[in-house]
Symmetry: C2
Subunit: 376 residues, 2 copies
């Protein structure tokens, strides 16, 4: 009854690759395009995900590759912070060997037999999304430049794309930047689901649902644990984004840190970082949905890059007042054996499905995860 | 930006009345009609809920009134099991004093200054819903006759109602009966959200969301606790429905029990009933949403009608396998101080909002709560 969904992945770092992998377990949702900084793979009948993952696994993880940039998961490059042509001309420049098919370590997606090198991977995905009518595009990009995802989304709108964009952004301030473009997205017929990873995303949705017992929500406390030993190489962009939340660091300083500086910081902390009062968009996304004030939401957690065990159990606590005058706390808790990747990519695809259903009904604009839950 | 929502309540027993009460705490959702067996209250500008509740509170709770039937919360009457004209002619007959305004104990909704007596309360609500374009109607009716809610919904469709119906039904088998009518509902332009109370409803949605970590769900275990001392009189219909789940009882035997027999059973159990493997529609609703097989869902719980403390903590456990091969359990837990009423009526209104948003987008048909979550 439900039509199948096609989707593309913009960015084949940890999140992008794992989303492709998870989609293999799902019915009726088919990846048809994927790109990184240097290449794009397209197959309208569905990518051969195994081949793509096998060919690219581990080939973007070298320190040098991270610094000079191969994969879009490299924050320093993909976000255009290198002053390259991305933010000017709207294209990602290929630093090295552009146009020449690469293989082996550092090659990125072009190591796949399905991929072709390109100097304009984002534009190529946009063109393909429009030409093939791809239902949804997952923006699996780091976002240390706050307007990178909004600007990229605007390029989709300008090109006449009328499908769904889903991103896994984290920072509260990005939502405002998206909101400024809501009319552009709506005019194009696009449905943008923002902040659709784990937190914000999965846990934001859980908070919105947990709030249903209450007529007034007093606080939402999100406390996450991530053990990222085996996923470390794959998720350096995410780790860099997290470092920007530490006391004494911000987006700019984190972006400018060399890989060696990050490793030194990891050593200094014995691989374990604790975060409090993070600027995660759960706050504004819950406020948008009318659940509570952004100020009542707190996000923190513990990241351990030297263990795959979660250092703490990921928990969402929603405290509120019921119509009959009681105060209580509803709790959502993730099993410790669910990895960060599982908790980002399952929900991301879940929100893709919901976004596509809305888009097919003509519901366009910008939506956070909490707005896709039962209304508060 | 979002247009206000108007809604009607069919049935002003515990669930109906408490939903009216909870709606007072919500923005942009206005009750405009409510009925029980003997009367209907309508105000297109919004009912005076305080007056309605004050006038009707406690006036339907006498044992005699329950047995011979005043309020639609009385299962023996509202479902037409008394062999009265409901199932034949489609109307609820007023047994006593029909057409004469009643006041005081036993009068039901007509004790309110806003209400008028009627011999056809359901048809009157249908007519008003069509005439006034009421956005949503909450069917807060007991449903011991499994086709009562589906048949009532069909009457809305036949009358040309093109809005949203939301019910709080419990039994799995009712979903099939609704599905058989899906085309009728869709043709009329109706959006039917079924099983939108606590369980199924709130907890079904929580299970669907909790499943997002997994690529395969192995089991969903719902275990609820309800302390219903002060809410007992208000929720006799619900208690009777629960008794039908006990070993040795079924829908028919529970329906035919006299009030005295129920009290004797309550005494025998010291007010506390434990339920296992209940036929709650969470199973088929999760299967509809593709989350798991109905057979993998179990629902049970403990009801204590002599305490307002929950005898056990209400918990949803979703166990599954992640894409990276781990098995884990995600847990959703309701605070012990959230009453059954809070956990039914908040979600019911939440699903009303979601249903209205879908209906306004032209999404018609039959949907369970899990289908309103991020797709699995």
């Amino acid at each position: 009854m439900t039509r199948d969904i096609t989707f593309a992945v913009l960015g084949t770092g940890g999140i992008g690759r794992r989303t492709l992998e998870v989609s293999q377990y799902k019915d009726g949702i088919t990846p048809v395009a994927a790109c990184d900084r240097n290449g794009i793979a397209v197959d309208r009948d569905g990518l051969d995900v195994d081949e793509l993952l096998d060919a690219t696994e581990g080939n973007i993880a070298s320190e040098e590759a991270y610094e000079v940039g191969d994969g879009v998961e490299s924050a320093g490059d993909a976000t255009g912070s290198d002053g390259g042509p991305l933010t000017d001309g709207g294209e990602v420049a290929a630093d090295a060997d552009g146009g020449v098919k690469q293989h082996g370590a550092g090659a990125g997606v072009v190591a796949s037999a399905q991929a072709e090198p390109t100097r304009s991977p984002i534009q190529d995905v946009i063109d393909e999304a429009v030409a093939a009518g791809i239902d949804a595009v997952l923006l699996a990009l780091p976002n240390l430049e706050h307007d990178f995802v909004p600007n990229t989304a605007e390029r989709f709108a300008d090109a006449g794309y009328d499908g769904v964009l889903v991103d896994v952004l984290k920072r509260s301030r990005v939502i405002g930047t998206l909101d400024e473009r809501e009319e552009t997205f709506a005019d194009a017929g696009m449905t943008f689901v923002c902040g659709a990873g784990a937190t914000p995303g999965f846990l934001t949705g859980a908070a919105a649902l947990a709030a249903q017992s209450f007529v007034e929500v007093e606080s939402v406390d999100i406390w996450w644990g991530v053990g990222l030993k085996s996923g470390y190489e794959d998720n350096r962009g995410t780790v860099r984004e997290d470092i920007a939340h530490l006391d004494g660091y911000d987006v700019e300083t984190a972006r400018e840190m060399s890989e060696a500086e990050i490793e030194a910081l990891v050593d200094e902390h014995d691989g374990r970082f604790e975060f409090h009062d993070m600027e995660h968009a759960d706050d504004v996304l819950l406020e948008r949905a009318g659940v509570c004030d952004a100020a009542d939401v707190s996000v923190g957690g513990v990241l351990d890059v030297r263990s795959d065990e979660k250092p703490v159990t990921t928990t969402v606590e929603v405290t509120g007042r019921t119509f009959d005058g009681e105060t209580a706390t509803n709790t959502f808790e993730l099993g410790d054996d669910t990895s960060m990747e599982a908790n980002v990519n399952g929900p991301a695809l879940g929100y893709v499905r919901r976004g596509v259903a809305m888009n097919r009904d003509g519901r366009t604009g910008v939506f956070g995860p909490a707005e896709l839950m039962p209304g508060f």
